[in-house]
């Protein structure tokens, strides 16, 4: 079952002007329910445009956006529902915070949904828990917080709408390793607890390799590759040519294979590489002992 499906999406900016710019040329992609999906492509590949199709911020020139089996543009008047059901976290979301306190800011989405006070409260606290924000931080002004904390408040603001599909555009951009781990940890907790679908847009191959189940690669407004991480990373040359590359560890495994070491082809995290090499080295050690 697909939580979100985009079919033959086409989109052109500034149509019929000298600045005309075709961003998407017939993109078809499906995101399976309950999984973490990666969407990669470098700047200008059309990924930011595609993301704004998902919750109806942009209307495709042609094609369909199917959210839980229904085209979101069937009833254009109810497009706001699509925004609540498919929550979108933009790049550098901390720049959208505006309320006096973090708590109020997180409540902005749920309030717009027209929920009652108790439900809003429940959601604010549960979202704060997902991203690991303490209760005393909730009473502070978002403008007093550190960069990483602000980012988590903004993320909680979208999570509090409890969307079926959570879309994040470069959630870890500009953060240091600690901040990155905190953000991805929060996303993972949300996804595991709610069983909801997550779509992560990124150009960090290391991050998508670690956190995503499937990958879709966009290039020049078209889908270049789509599949599991292992399937996509198999096309190392193509990805490198597109300015994306593969995780360092995947490249390293290829170097080993080229030198005659028989390592499995589907390795793209350090943990997996460690297990594989340990198996080989242990086997060799055992063989030598025998």
């Amino acid at each position: 079952m697909n939580a979100l499906e985009l079919r033959n999406i086409e989109y052109t900016y500034s149509k019929n002007t000298p600045f005309e710019n075709t961003a998407l040329k017939g993109v078809t992609v499906a995101f399976e329910q309950g999984r973490v999906n990666g969407l990669i492509g470098h700047t200008g590949s059309g990924k930011s445009t595609l993301v704004q199709m998902m919750n109806g911020l942009l209307k495709p020139d042609a094609g369909e956006v199917i959210l839980a089996g229904k085209n979101i543009w069937d009833e254009p008047k109810k497009i706001r529902d699509a925004r609540f059901r498919c929550g979108l976290v933009f790049q550098y979301p901390e720049y959208q915070l505006f309320e006096e306190t973090c708590e109020k800011d997180i409540a902005f989405g749920p309030k717009n949904m027209g929920l009652d006070a108790d439900e809003i409260n429940r959601r604010v606290f549960s979202a704060a828990d997902f991203v690991g924000l303490d209760r005393d931080i909730l009473q502070k002004s978002p403008f007093e917080l550190s960069g990483g904390q602000k980012r988590r408040v903004a993320l909680a603001g979208v999570m509090a709408m409890e969307p079926e599909v959570l879309v994040l555009d470069e959630p870890a951009a500009g953060l240091d390793p600690i901040g990155r781990t905190e953000i991805f940890g929060g996303i993972r907790r949300y996804q595991r607890t709610k069983g909801n679908t997550v779509i992560i847009v990124s150009h960090s191959m290391e991050d998508v390799a670690e956190y995503c189940d499937t990958l879709t690669v966009l290039k020049n407004g078209e889908v270049l590759r789509s599949g599991s991480c292992a399937e996509v990373f198999a096309y190392e040359k193509e990805l490198t040519e597109s300015g994306l590359g593969v995780p360092q560890i995947t490249r390293f495994m290829r170097l080993l294979r080229e030198r005659g070491v028989k390592v499995a082809e589907d390795i793209y995290t350090v943990d997996a590489a460690f297990d594989e090499l340990r198996r080989i080295l242990d086997g060799k050690r055992g063989g030598a002992d025998a």
Partner: protein, 279 residues
Amino acid sequence: MLKDITLGQFFPGNSVLHRADPRMKIILAIIYIVFVFLAKNSAAYLLAVGFTVLLVLLSRIKLSVVLKGLKPLLFIMVFTAFFNIFWTKGETVPLFSYGIITIYREGLWFAAVMIIRVACILAGSSVILTYTTSPISLTDGIERLLKPLKVIHVPVHEFAMMMTIALRFIPTLIEETDKIMNAQKARGADFNSGGLVKRAKALLPVLIPLFASSFRRAGELATAMECRCYRGDNGRTRMTKLRYSGIDIVLLILFAAFGTGIILMNIHLGFFLNFGMVL
């Protein structure tokens, strides 16, 4: 989308008008506007229209582009022309009369004059200044033209620097507004329904982050400028030195001729060539 608004309206090129000194162009634009206003009779107006067409040709900007630039003001022109036609009382016999509607020849004349004047001034000053001068050299021109005012402590340099920075950041801020609006829409903000008060309130989630980020930008920019040794006008030189060239002199003569032409038409030829009144 907000991003689509074109700003500055500058069309890069290499025509005579593009190459002219911005200071000269500011002066020429003023001369031009003054004389178009001074035109009194149809011959003078004919000359003004002819001269404007000449300017458009000199700028090498397509006439269609210039006409398109007039479009936003078309409504106002038609509107005022309409009032002129129906509300001007003439001394002669009405041309047309039906019920309360009476149209005099003077009404038609004023309406035509109105439209010609506005169209000429808009088209002319656009090709002299905004279409052919980049915002930065325009600011530069203003700064250098007003330099003498520094003696009486008018902060000319600071004003020009503010203009430059504003021009530099307008596209950035528009893009940012777009982004914040989208981010708030993604959280269900609704900017398009409800009464005036509700709509104004709905803009708060956009305005507050926008102000916050503008302050942050301003702070960072100030630091960056200090790091690049900016200390106001003190001992500052400029890469491009503005120098009047032959083109400027030729243009000045051309505009002087135009001004003289208008005055001549007003005084002498007016008696013989007053088409409007003959009509």
